[in-house]
Symmetry: C2
Subunit: 410 residues, 2 copies
């Protein structure tokens, strides 16, 4: 049985007309003879509306009840899409995450998928039905409704594709694919035909919003081929798979940027073993995701420690840092929200040692100061002033000739 | 363990403020030491909004998908009420019908409850939690989400009370209890302190909207004591139980009326055996609920057959009647929407043969013509012109001295 998983989210299901459009799109795939499993998100701003209702009652509603509440958004959209399929004359059936057997752990609002039971889906596919599954949600082992966190529908789709052995997991959205840079900033940005899991992971981690990071990890772990494409056109988008499936290997895949982070610096920290550990354990204990960490070379037994966090965690991170600064007898804490992170991602840089230097000079040539640097084998990230971010992205994109598709034969 | 089931519906959960009010009401009961299971309906016009969304997609959405869609309404309200209980400092947990084990048959949009599994509720009550259950919904044996039909939350509450062996099932709404007539029509109408199941059944069947008919049947079958009361006052409402619990027995419990029916008459039907059977089988085959049926004494081998149906079924009923009139070579079909049904209910009329005559004369004295009559051992219903309904209710209410509480010793 050839199975294709199709995921529609965000603006693809903004209203009833869009739902009907999704139904037509699914019917075209079905007509080609493939069995289709559809994963969709909540309609338009349903989730935000539900969050608003909860806030009217409580500033900090319990997460179990938030999951109970938010899971209704996707339940509404699967029922409506199923009706729209029937109107087009197709057999279809909708399921909640619990009904289809998407088993998760009990971490409400950010649950992880433990298992997917495929029996019920296969039974319906066998009958020729289109199976429509609520994204973003699952059920814990003790029969509580759980949700997977923001963008969780991508993960649902990839998990279903893995469990069903689907040929491909198509992720539909309002963008045409994965680009060498954000086309709203760089007009010459090119759509990538292929990208490897690990490059996509770095791009998602450094600011490309097209896919949830966890869904890419899941796809890599289970070898699920992803096709990111537009729900408003028939064009091919970007294929994400193991790198050896590609004919050409670019040195660089793309430039990404992130403006939703902030920098916290603790000055004059006494340079003793275990100091950094205490600080970052305290942050981890409050579930704060720290991105980059820089510790300066120490002089006279003192050092400065800087790190970046998502802006939503900033006030908590600052509070903890102030407390730790006091305990550690450090000089003080400074918070900076006016930063941006610009990153260069590409598997080719492993064997091309000059890449980092070229990136730094592109920034220098444009008068952009680098405040923090972090590297992995296939990525370089620089923290700069927020006001410089567009200029930086354009400069790096041009420096590496990404508009011209500079490639090397493998 | 003393358990009280409290059901809040309709206007009691119209908005967030009302939800908070319900939470305070539940907390008062909990403070008295009783364990509380709460059943609630969807917020305000949520259900109507969801129906509207479905209609934008399909004129006749499948019932399975409608259930999937509509069940979200109650899931939203239980999560919100649970949050409101937490805000007041009480332990509470919300459940869907499926989670709590309300097992139904597979008749989507009008499912019947087959079983209620109490394990999970008892476990939570044991821990001291208030258990909040979504009304109106259940789960079929093959794990499909089902709904119980309009007013189904009453049935949910009574079924939970029966399964849990609750002391009482309190039904809260915006009315103070069961009245001898609709207080909007008869200003002297009295609230009944007690009423028996069978009288309540007849009153619900003949137009009293305070309780869903099925919930009363359920309560009678399982001996669940119901207390119908207002969510906006602390006053006692009306108790519904076996009749032997009452100190006094009134001859008449009340006058009810129904204006949502229509009359269909087929003229000059050839008077052969099996004619009525064919007609009413055809109507039943289309799931049309026929209320009253009158067949005149036949002359020259011809007879007239009249019946009443709910106005929502009228066009279907008329179509079927036209077809049957053709097949049976009858004279024709006439439809009449301008009718009303006025009924007198009371267990005492069993032993008081003059009641029907008094009712007819009350109507005659006010110049109201009777078009159809139907009787049971504890009820008399008359079909009259719709324009006469208020006058008729007032005349009958006065004739039997219901404002003065005329009673007889048992």
């Amino acid at each position: 049985m050839n199975i294709i998983v199709q995921k529609f989210g965000g603006t693809s299901v903004a209203d009833i007309e869009r739902i009907k459009n999704v139904a037509r799109r699914v019917s075209e795939t079905r007509e080609k003879g493939d069995h289709v499993v559809v994963v969709i998100s909540a309609l338009g701003d349903t989730t935000d509306q539900l969050v608003r209702l909860a806030r009217e009652i409580s500033d900090s509603p319990r997460e179990r009840e938030m999951d109970m509440l938010l899971a209704t958004g996707e339940q509404i959209s699967v029922a409506l899409l199923s009706m729209a399929m029937h109107e087009l004359g197709y057999e279809a059936i909708s399921f909640t995450g619990a009904q289809v057997g998407i088993v998760t752990d009990s971490a409400h609002t950010k649950a992880k998928i433990l298992d997917v039971k495929v029996g019920r889906m296969l039974e319906e596919l066998d009958k020729g039905s289109i199976v429509i599954v609520a994204g973003f949600q699952g059920v814990s082992l003790d029969d509580q409704i759980t949700t997977l966190g923001r963008g969780g529908s991508d993960t649902t789709a990839v998990a279903l594709a893995a469990a069903l052995g689907a040929d491909v997991c198509e992720i539909f959205s309002d963008v045409d694919g994965v680009f060498t840079a954000d086309p709203r900033i760089v007009s010459e940005a090119r759509k990538l035909a292929h990208i490897s899991y690990e490059e996509m992971l770095e791009m998602a981690a450094t600011g490309a919003k097209v896919l949830q990071l966890r869904s890419v990890e899941f796809a890599r772990n289970y070898g699920v081929v992803i096709h990111v494409r537009s729900s408003f056109s028939q064009e091919e988008g970007t294929w994400i798979s193991e790198s050896d499936e590609r004919m050409e290997k670019a040195i660089i895949s793309g430039v990404t940027h992130e403006t939703e982070e902030a920098k916290v610096t603790i000055f004059e920290v006494p340079d003793r073993p275990g100091v950094a550990a205490r600080l970052f354990q305290a942050l981890a204990g409050e579930n704060i995701n720290v991105d980059m960490i820089i510790q300066n070379v120490s002089e006279d037994q003192k050092t400065d420690i800087s790190f970046t966090v998502g802006q939503e965690d900033l006030s908590k991170a600052a509070r903890i840092s102030e407390r730790m600064a006091g305990e550690l007898e450090a000089g003080g804490v400074v918070v900076d929200e006016e930063i941006a992170k610009v990153s260069l991602v590409g598997a080719g840089m492993r064997t091309h040692p000059g890449v980092a230097a070229d990136m730094f000079s592109a920034l220098a040539e444009n008068g952009i100061n680098i405040e923090m640097i972090s590297t992995s084998t296939i990525k370089i990230s620089c923290v700069i002033r927020a006001e410089d971010v567009k200029k930086a992205v354009r400069a790096i994109h041009a420096k590496f000739g990404l508009d011209k598709g500079v490639v090397m034969r493998s």
